[in-house]
């Protein structure tokens, strides 16, 4: 394991995670490793280790956590959350960590593309004549996009310069 340079740690990081919606439970962890034992990803990809991610966050290893690829490997199965004796709610903590990574512009390209689709169409798949003809043939009602609503409720940018509680802007 690489050495940890104390000067590069950010003691504020754990507080930032805990301030995010869902991140509140982070500091209750007492490192029992039940989460890791319940995790279906960990045996497949050792880089994704819930207990280790919690320790890294508590130590303040902000850069190593937010800029990593492994934080995006949570499958959101809630296995860890169900077994945690401290009610850390780690699946939600992972969302808090990913939200912070997104604020720092560390986002996998697939997710940015999904967000653009949602803002533009209100759905993950664009619905055109072809799709509705197929539906009609099976006796199903047409799907109608109401894209305009999503342009209103979803702000233009996900990257926020102001940390924590920056207000959400509606730029439509």
């Amino acid at each position: 394991m690489p050495k940890i340079n104390l000067n590069e740690l950010d003691p504020e990081f754990k507080h930032r995670v805990a301030e995010q919606p869902g991140g509140e439970g982070l500091k209750a962890c007492f490192a029992c490793k039940a989460c890791t034992a319940a995790c279906p990803i960990q045996p497949i990809d050792k880089r994704y280790d819930p207990r280790k991610i919690i320790r890294m966050a508590l130590l303040g290893m902000k850069k190593q956590v937010l800029e990593s690829d492994f934080i995006w490997l949570c499958s959101s199965c809630y296995g860890c959350q169900e077994v945690c004796p401290q009610n850390v709610r780690f699946t939600e903590v992972m969302y808090a960590i990913k939200n912070l990574a997104a604020q720092e512009a560390c986002i996998p390209p697939g997710l940015t593309a999904q967000r653009s689709l949602l803002k533009k169409h209100g759905r993950l798949y664009e619905v055109g004549e072809f799709e509705n003809e197929k539906r009609l043939k099976m006796g199903l009602p047409p799907i109608i996009e109401h894209a305009e609503d999503f342009d209103v409720i979803l702000p233009d940018q996900t990257v926020e310069s102001d940390r924590g509680h920056s207000s959400t802007s509606h730029n439509s």
Partner: protein, 291 residues
């Protein structure tokens, strides 16, 4: 009873067999599905980027339902889970309620969070009941053996499903299958996560998560794996060929949706139930049922 049918993004485009069989079986059992054309994405895909964006996207659908004063029935586990989660948060947390309603205001919508959200299988379980379904069966699926797959968000987080099913020893889907006259197998990887949430991040890891269940069900002699979620379908049906190829394991596990199975037991034909869209044909199953 009347309820709003919430289709989400994937089912009405990619899984018409699921939608058509859900609509037909509901009708046959006296459930009236009402469509709201304004329903959009549930918000789940936004949760990793910004939890509040996810919440407001979910809240928009919930507020539309509240305006109609009707509950929501969803076909996708991720949609049902997300909508349920946000309804709960808005109902129980005044700070979140205010924040979300501030963002909904430009749409002329408001949400108190009292709308109830259920997966279709939960609705069947709670509203029609196992006995009610067994009574409605006109063509028992004798001789058919099926393997249930619940999917994570059907059962978890358990704090959102109090009084429904156990995340460790679930039974509702098994009982729903038994009610059709088919036999249910229990198998070690019953509770495995499909890996669908990871497919966009790492196909390799996602496939590695799905393989054990496919292998076990394939070896068990079950006629099909029974799903209730289109995300799980992407892995078990959509990725099955690729998984077989990359692992060298001979996999030919037919994958069906529960309402398709139910529909057969209610006397509907495989054509009506959209079986032609099932990519790995449950030939043996249909031979036993339809001859």
């Amino acid at each position: 009873m009347e309820t709003l049918l919430y289709l989400g993004c994937t089912v009405p485009i990619r899984n018409l067999n699921y939608e058509v069989s859900a609509r037909l079986t509901a009708k046959a059992l006296g459930i009236t599905f009402r469509d709201i054309e304004e329903f959009g994405c549930c918000g789940f895909p936004l949760k990793s980027l910004n939890v509040e964006d996810m919440m407001v996207t979910a809240a928009r659908n919930l507020a539309l339902a509240e305006r109609e004063d009707l509950d929501i029935c969803a076909l996708c586990n991720a949609c049902a889970g997300t909508l349920n989660e946000v309804a709960h948060q808005v109902r129980t947390n005044p700070e979140i309620r205010e924040k979300i309603n501030r963002r909904l205001k430009p749409l002329g919508l408001r949400l108190d969070g009292n709308v109830k959200v259920r997966n279709y299988m939960r609705l069947l379980w709670e509203e029609i009941g196992i006995e009610g379904i067994a009574k409605a069966v006109t063509r028992p699926l004798n001789g058919v053996t099926l393997a249930p797959h619940y999917g994570c968000h059907y059962l978890k987080p358990s704090e959102l499903n109090v009084g429904f099913d156990s995340p460790e020893v679930p039974r509702t889907l098994s009982d729903l299958i038994t009610a059709t006259g088919a036999k249910v197998i229990n198998y070690p990887s019953l509770l495995d996560c499909c890996g669908g949430g990871l497919l966009g991040m790492s196909e390799e890891v996602a496939n590695a998560m799905a393989v054990r269940k496919l292998q076990e069900v394939s070896a068990s002699g079950a006629h099909a794996l029974v799903l209730v979620c289109p995300f799980c379908n992407v892995m078990y049906e959509g990725q099955q060929k690729k998984i077989a190829k990359s692992t060298g394991i001979d996999l030919k596990t037919p994958v069906v949706y529960y309402p398709q199975v139910l529909g057969l037991a209610l006397g509907m034909t495989s054509e009506q139930l959209g079986f032609k869209l099932n990519r790995i044909k449950p030939k043996e199953l249909l031979e036993i049922v339809e001859g």
